[in-house]
Symmetry: C2
Subunit: 148 residues, 2 copies
């Protein structure tokens, strides 16, 4: 699998029918996973070219872990593998979005929750921005037991 | 409005109840807009601290345009202003996600479409990755007439 060059016009990027991933200066592209059934946004991470190729070839989401500086097959430790139903890219091809079906408990966040987006912002009277937890998204596993 | 410091432990970031936006080295945070009704992913862009504060204060999505190097009130030219229903952040607080209701035609992409994610990836027999257009997401305005 070879990716086509992204060194083309803006019009070719947004109107063409070839995938031309625009990796950033670190060689990464933003990758978003959403629930294939209800579109719930699950997580945002990054892929390098190898992770993107593996995701396309295997149908299982692979990322690049910036903290561990390593290829990351999501769910390898927790069992929560993400099966890809569809991959899309955006108009300027610097983001990929995957519709996924998460295996096992269905958790996608390292905290054990379905989604990493479990807190909403509110501006308090004193000007501080506070977070309130989505009580519907409870942890599905105990991270201290899964990640040792 | 003052944002709390992000120079805290990982646990404070993912378990705390204060918003501590983690701007990158360019002073930007990734911002995702999704449809408040059906969760369709609409666009991915960036915010600096000012755009984030304005979004929280006004309830209207503001971004930072990296190509124009300027504050960007989404829809100022096209009329497709994004009214924010909710803002969330993720576990490590380096992304914000907004549920929005887009005004006027409901387009969010500069191509006139509802979503920037109008093309899906397919691996062809020759190993090239081709894009197929989502025919359900037709342009709602003519970009050449709106952006002069």
């Amino acid at each position: 699998m070879v990716f086509a060059s992204a060194d083309v016009s803006k019009q070719e990027l947004d109107s063409g029918d070839l995938f031309r991933p625009r990796f950033n200066e670190a060689g990464l592209i933003t990758a978003i996973a959403v629930d294939a059934e209800d579109n719930t946004i699950l997580m945002v991470a990054y892929m390098n070219a190898e992770a993107l190729q593996l995701s396309l070839q295997t149908g299982i989401a692979h990322y690049w872990s910036r903290s561990r500086n390593a290829l990351w097959k999501k769910g390898e430790t927790s069992g929560n593998v993400q099966i890809i139903a569809e991959i899309r890219t955006d108009c300027d091809q610097d983001v990929v979005m995957m519709r996924v079906r998460t295996q096992d408990s269905g958790a996608n966040c390292h905290t054990g929750r379905k989604s990493c987006f479990y807190r909403s912002l509110e501006v308090a009277d004193d000007g501080k921005v506070v977070l309130s937890f989505d009580e519907k998204d409870q942890p599905r596993f105990d991270p201290s037991k899964v990640y040792k």
